[in-house]
Amino acid sequence: MRLRGVIAGVAWRMLKNVVTTPSILLPSLLFPLLFFVAFAGGLSQVQNVPGFDYPNGYTAFQFVFVLLQAAAFGGVFTGFAIARDFEGGFGRRLMLASPNRLGIVLGYGVAAVFRWVITAMLLTVVALAFGMQVGGGPVDLVALYTLALIINVCGFLWSAGIAMRIRTMQAAPLMQMPVFLLLFLAPVYVPLSLLGGTLHAVARFNPVTYALGTGRGLLAGDATQVGLSFGLALVLVVVFSVWALRGLRSAEAAG
């Protein structure tokens, strides 16, 4: 009961701030849309490049990337909020008022998921309005959104671990940069087979590459490496959960 109360309280406060404060809400909605419109619209001729073999067209190809990117950054932005709370003293208030402090991390996590759900719904509506072709069935689509949700949780746990260790907004680049690099060292604009040189070599070992490939496959109804992608994502959740919990212990030790 105590744990549930803490989770609900922390999540409620975060979401209330998001929904009632346009300066928080709008960037998290507009940036993914901007990316999507810029990539899918501006680079649509990429689908005519020889070797581009994605069957559902460039809009759908880009939609999956932007969906996963919004998921990852939605998690990271919640990490920013944690850092801001600790820097301003509100984190200490939560630590003091919460009999069970694990609930604080989980509450922020729930808020990150809800934030992403709002973004994902809007993004999907806009993509469909842009004529995105969907080849996958309901199960494929549920799997696609579940994969994105797991990535959202990974992004959140990673940044929460940093935020609770450093407890200042100066940690923001540290939270953001590795996620940014991982995302953009993957086959973002063209399939892996069309990447060359160092980028191809790096992308082959990047876990985001597998998530992107599986996500695009699920949207097209022709998914490959589903087990591997979900397995990698879940391993990351476990690793980052330990990372975030140790971050919480670090914040507790620092007072």
């Binding site: 109360g5 409620w12 406060r13 003091l96 919460s98 009999p99």
Partner: protein, 325 residues
């Protein structure tokens, strides 16, 4: 069974990395329903003690039980029986006063049916009913402090920690807060651990006072007992002219030990000496003064007697040479 709402501290130490011992082996016992004033200058170790007792900061060594629970091993239970208003009322500027109370009732698992009535009751008690639906960023310092106190009381804690609760408040708000704290102890039997650097606050509110300096408790007792320990009153003289200072100092020296007061010339009277004796001596020597005052011992005198400095002077020292903390 009645809840144990005492605080028992034994040899509590907090050492910061590469820093001094902020708290250096303190022992104290606060009885249920007692208001304990923890008095000391900035940097003396008051807030560090509060942070440890409220489980926000681990102790380096030593032990403490708050409400019967061990602060090291039973943190969640400690937090469920205490309320705390820390030095800076850290509030979310985007939330309203009522939102803060709602959040606090959720965190403290107040039953749903009781949440709204409890919020309204507390808003009324701290005089924030009208401002309840305004965002906190528009609140004055006094309003923030009052909201902070209301938040600390949401779950009806049996022990309340107040870390310099009236710093920066206007006299009216300060008096109102004192009244509320006294009421909590008197009517609700809440144990109050109050840190302050205001002598008057400790004197008016506290049943017992602990004086901390450089991480150590240098004196402890009821304000009356501590002052009685010092015993003798002091005489404070303001000369008419600066040239008279040495004459007056010499004259006063016949009746007691000089005090390190910067504003006036002062002595702590020896046994058997009184104001009348001093005035007669002045008459006899033809000394004219602007003002002469007999003062009963204060907690500042206690602080001076125990540490060799006035509380004001100690605070200034810390300001000039801040500690590593």
């Amino acid at each position: 069974m009645a809840r144990d709402n005492s605080i028992v501290v034994e040899k509590l130490v907090r050492e910061f990395r590469k820093g001094p011992r902020a708290v250096d082996g303190i022992d104290l016992h606060v009885a249920p329903g007692e208001i304990y004033g923890f008095l000391g200058p900035n940097g003396a170790g008051k807030s560090t003690t509060v942070l440890m007792l409220t489980t926000l900061l681990p102790a380096t060594t030593g032990s403490a039980r708050v409400g019967g629970y061990d602060i090291r091993t039973e943190g969640p239970k400690v937090r469920s029986v205490i309320g705390a208003a820390l030095q800076e009322a850290a509030l979310d500027p985007l939330l309203t006063g009522r939102d803060h109370l709602k959040l606090q009732t959720m965190l403290q698992a107040v039953p749903k049916a009781e949440r709204k009535p409890r919020q309204n009751e507390l808003l009324d008690r701290v005089g924030l009913t009208e401002a309840a639906d305004r965002k906190v960023r528009g609140y004055s310092g006094g309003m923030k402090r009052r909201l902070d106190l209301a938040l600390a009381l949401v779950h009806r804690p049996s022990i309340l920690f107040l870390d310099e609760p009236t710093t920066g408040l206007d006299p009216q708000s300060r008096t109102a807060l004192w009244e509320e704290v006294a009421r909590l102890a008197r009517e609700d039997n809440v144990t109050v651990f109050l840190t302050t650097q205001y002598l008057e606050e400790a004197d008016v509110l506290a049943d017992r006072v602990g004086i901390i300096d450089n991480g150590r408790i240098v004196a402890e007792g009821t304000p009356a007992a501590l002052k009685a320990e010092i015993g003798r009153p002091s005489i404070h003289v303001t000369p008419v002219r600066d040239d008279d200072r040495s004459v007056i100092t010499e004259l006063l020296g016949r009746f007691g030990e000089p005090l390190g007061s910067e504003r006036d010339l002062a002595v702590r009277l020896r046994e058997g000496s009184g104001l009348v004796d001093v005035i007669r001596a002045m008459d006899a020597d033809g000394v004219v003064v602007d003002d002469i005052e007999l003062r009963a011992p204060t907690l500042d005198d206690v602080f001076l007697a125990k540490t060799g400095r006035t509380l004001e002077g100690a605070a200034a020292e810390k300001t000039v040479a801040p500690s590593v903390r």
